[in-house]
C-alpha cells in the first residue's frame, strides 16, 4: 500500500518536473558541449604547454563557465515541483494523502534532489572526461574536486527555493532566501583550484540540515490561520 503510494507520488512528481528536467538536460548537454568546444578552441589557438601553465600555476579554471549551472538547475527543479503546488491551494490537497505528511514532503524533495543529482552526475562525469581529454589525470581529478562546491550549490539552490516556495508567509520566505543566499555565497569564494578540499565536509554536513528543515514550511502551511 505504502510502496504503491510512493510510486504514485514519484509518478506525479515526474509528471510535474519532466519538461523542466528535460529542458535542463538539454541545457546541461549544451553547456558541456560549449565547454568541450571552448577548451578545444583554446588548445587550437594557443600552445598546449602554455594552457597547462595557466591551469596549474596561474590557477585559471577553464571550466568556470559551468559553475552556476547546478545552482540554476536546483532552483528550476524546485520551481517546477512546488510552484504549481502553491497555486490555488493545491498544496493543501497534496498534504491530505494517506501518508505521514513529513514522509510525503521528504519523498517530494527526495525525488527533486534525485533529479538534480542525476544532472550533477552527468556534469561530474562529463567534466572529468572533457578535462582528461586535454590534461593529465591529476588535472581532471582536481577539476572534479574544484567543482564539488558548485554541485553543492545546486543542493542549496534546490532546498532554498523549496523552503521559500512552500512557506506561506512572505517575510519568512525572504528569511529562507536570505539564508540560502548567505550559504551560496560561501561556495563561490575560490581564487583557484581545490581551495574547498578541507572545508567541504563541514559545508556538506551543514547543507544536510536542509533535509529536516524543509518540513517546517509545510508544517506552517498546514497550520496557518
Amino acid at each position: 500500500m505504502r510502496a504503491a503510494m510512493l510510486s504514485a507520488i514519484f509518478l506525479k512528481e515526474w509528471l510535474k518536473v519532466r519538461w523542466v528536467w528535460l529542458g535542463l538536460l538539454v541545457l546541461h548537454l549544451g553547456m558541456l558541449l560549449y565547454l568541450l568546444l571552448a577548451i578545444r578552441h583554446q588548445f587550437r589557438v594557443e600552445h598546449s604547454e602554455m594552457i597547462w601553465y595557466w591551469a596549474f600555476e596561474l590557477r585559471r579554471l577553464l571550466y568556470a563557465p559551468i559553475q552556476y549551472l547546478p545552482l540554476l538547475t536546483g532552483v528550476l527543479i524546485a520551481i517546477a515541483q512546488f510552484g504549481p503546488e502553491m497555486l490555488g491551494g493545491r498544496f493543501r490537497l497534496s498534504l491530505h494523502l494517506p501518508l505521514r505528511a513529513d514522509l510525503l514532503v521528504w519523498s517530494w524533495v527526495g525525488f527533486g534532489a534525485l533529479m538534480g543529482a542525476l544532472l550533477a552526475l552527468l556534469d561530474a562525469v562529463a567534466l572529468y572526461w572533457i578535462i582528461a581529454g586535454w590534461f593529465p589525470h591529476e588535472a581532471a581529478v582536481s577539476a572534479l574536486l574544484t567543482a564539488l562546491p558548485w554541485l553543492l550549490g545546486g543542493w542549496i539552490g534546490y532546498f532554498g527555493a523549496t523552503l521559500a516556495l512552500l512557506e506561506p508567509a512572505a517575510p519568512r520566505r525572504l528569511i529562507y532566501l536570505g539564508l540560502s543566499a548567505a550559504f551560496l555565497a560561501l561556495l563561490y569564494q575560490h581564487r583557484g583550484y581545490q581551495e574547498y578540499d578541507q572545508v567541504l565536509p563541514v559545508l556538506i554536513a551543514l547543507a544536510l540540515l536542509f533535509i529536516p528543515a524543509v518540513i517546517l514550511p509545510a508544517h506552517r502551511y498546514r497550520h496557518q490561520r
Partner: protein
C-alpha cells in the same frame, strides 16, 4: 516532533551562517588600510628604520628604532641601497659608506630579495603535482616552457602536452639517471619555481623516501642531477627556489624543525652547493612571511605575522650584527576589534591568512561577549514572552541564546517557535486522516 527538529535545524543553520559571515563582514567594513610595517636596517645610521601608516589618509610615519622621526626624503636617504634610483636623481651617487664607495652598477649587482611566505609551504595551498622541467640551456635569450610536463611519483613520468600522452623515452632516461644517482623512490616532494621570467633555471629539487634532496635539471635535453649536501639530522620541509643574477645562492631550505638555511650555488654553475644556517630567533614559517634583503654591505632578514615584526641584520657572512622587533601598528588592538568581539561569543573564520585553503577556525571570546549575551538573553525572553510562551516552552530557545548570544537572538527572532509548539498541537508526523490533523 519533525517540525521542531526542522525549526532547530534552521536555527543551527542560521547561527553557523551568522558566525561565518560575522568576520567576513568585519573584514569588508574595517579592513587594514596599509598592512604590515616596512622595516629596514639603515647602513647610514646603523639602526633599524620603519615606515607605518597610522590613522586615516596618508598619515605615514618614518621613524627609527630610537623613535626619531624623519621626513620621507630623509628616510629614503637612510636606506640608499633600497632607493638608489632616487639617490641617483638627487646626485648622491656614488655612495660613501663604511669607508667604501658604491656606484649604481655595484648596487644593482648586489641587490636581491629572497621571500618565503606561509602560503608557499606544502599543505598550505593545493598544488597539482605536475611540473614543467625547463631546458636549462635553451641556446637563446629566454627560457621557454617545454612541450612536456613532469609527474614525479614512483618514477619521473613525462607527459607530452600536445598529445596528452606519456613520453616513454624521456621517462626512462630521467628515471634511470635519478636511480643511478642513488635516489630512493618514490618522490616525496618536489620544489621549484615555475616561471620563464627568471635569470636561469635551477630545475626542481626532489626529496626522496630516505630524506635525501636532489637537484634535477634538464641540460641540452639530458638529466643533470646534483645531490644537495644536507646537514646531519635536517629533514627538509620546503625548498624555496629563487634563481637570481647574483649567482651565490639558489634559495632557501626550511627544515621540519623550523631551521632555515640559505641554499648556496656552486660558483655560478647554477647547481646546489652548501647550506648556510640563518639564525632567526622567533621565526615561525607557518605564520610569518620572511624577506631577506641583500645589499652591498648587509643582509637583513625581516619576518612578521599579523602582529609582530622582527628583523635580524647580518654581515655578508650572515653573522648577526643587530636585532630588532616591535608590535606593528596593525597588531595594536583596535576599538572596532574589541567592540566586534564583545558583540558575539564566537566567530568562525573561513579564510586562512597563511594559506589558500578555506578552513573553519573557531575564535571564542565568550567572556568579552558576556554582557552582550546577557542582553541578548533578556531580549530573547521578552520576545518569546510577548509571543505567549510559558517559561518551560521557551527554555530550549533561551538556552540556545545563552550559548550563542546575539547569533541565537537573531536566529530565534527570525525563526520563533511555532504556535502549534506552544499549544502542543499537531505535527506533520501523522497522516491527514489521523485524529488531530488538519
Amino acid at each position: 516532533m519533525t517540525a521542531r527538529i526542522a525549526r532547530w535545524s534552521l536555527l543551527l543553520l542560521t547561527i553557523v551562517l551568522l558566525a561565518l559571515w560575522w568576520p567576513l563582514l568585519k573584514e569588508l567594513l574595517f579592513e587594514y588600510r596599509y598592512g604590515k610595517t616596512d622595516l629596514f636596517y639603515s647602513p647610514v645610521i646603523e639602526r633599524f628604520v620603519y615606515k607605518e601608516l597610522l590613522g586615516e589618509g596618508h598619515a605615514f610615519i618614518y621613524r627609527d628604532q630610537d623613535a626619531n622621526d624623519y621626513d620621507r626624503q630623509t628616510f629614503e636617504t637612510l636606506i640608499p641601497f633600497i632607493y638608489y634610483k632616487n639617490m641617483e636623481l638627487w646626485g648622491k651617487l656614488p655612495l660613501q659608506l663604511a669607508g667604501q664607495s658604491f656606484d649604481k652598477a655595484q648596487i644593482q649587482a648586489e641587490r636581491q630579495v629572497l621571500e618565503l611566505k606561509p602560503g608557499e609551504l606544502p599543505g598550505h595551498a593545493p598544488r597539482i603535482q605536475l611540473f614543467p622541467l625547463l631546458e636549462a640551456n635553451p641556446g637563446r635569450a629566454r627560457l621557454r616552457f617545454p612541450e612536456d610536463i613532469l609527474r614525479p611519483s614512483e618514477q619521473l613520468t613525462f607527459i607530452n602536452s600536445d598529445h596528452n600522452r606519456i613520453d616513454p623515452e624521456l621517462t626512462t632516461r630521467f628515471t634511470e639517471a635519478l636511480s643511478e644517482a642513488g635516489f630512493v623512490w618514490p618522490v616525496q616532494a618536489t620544489f621549484g619555481r615555475v616561471s620563464i621570467l627568471k635569470a636561469f633555471d635551477a630545475g626542481f629539487f626532489l626529496l626522496d623516501r630516505a630524506g635525501q634532496l636532489f637537484q634535477l635539471r634538464r641540460v641540452d635535453g639530458l638529466p643533470e642531477i646534483t645531490p644537495v649536501p644536507l646537514p646531519e639530522g635536517l629533514e627538509v620541509r620546503h625548498v624555496k627556489v629563487a634563481e637570481n643574477k647574483r649567482g651565490d645562492s639558489l634559495g632557501l631550505i626550511l627544515g621540519e624543525d623550523g631551521r632555515l638555511f640559505l641554499l648556496g650555488q656552486a660558483d655560478g654553475r647554477r647547481t646546489a652547493a652548501g647550506l648556510t644556517p640563518l639564525a632567526l630567533p622567533g621565526y615561525d614559517a607557518e605564520t610569518m612571511a620572511l624577506k631577506i634583503l641583500f645589499n652591498p654591505l648587509h643582509r637583513t632578514a625581516i619576518y612578521a605575522n599579523q602582529r609582530q615584526i622582527k628583523a635580524v641584520a647580518m654581515n655578508r657572512a650572515f653573522e648577526p650584527i643587530a636585532r630588532y622587533e616591535r608590535r606593528m601598528a596593525m597588531g595594536e588592538p583596535r576599538l572596532v576589534d574589541r567592540v566586534w568581539q564583545a558583540l558575539v561569543p564566537f566567530s568562525l573564520d573561513l579564510r586562512d591568512p597563511n594559506g589558500r585553503y578555506l578552513r573553519l577556525s573557531l575564535d571564542v571570546h565568550a567572556l568579552a561577549a558576556l554582557p552582550a549575551s546577557a542582553v541578548a538573553l533578556l531580549l530573547a525572553w521578552l520576545l518569546l514572552w510577548r509571543r505567549g510562551l510559558r517559561f518551560l516552552a521557551m527554555t530550549p530557545s533561551l538556552l540556545l541564546v545563552a550559548f550563542t548570544g546575539v547569533y541565537g537572538l537573531i536566529a530565534v527572532g527570525l525563526i520563533p517557535p511555532e504556535p502549534s509548539d506552544r499549544a502542543g498541537a499537531g505535527d506533520l508526523g501523522r497522516t491527514a486522516l489521523e485524529p488531530g490533523a488538519t
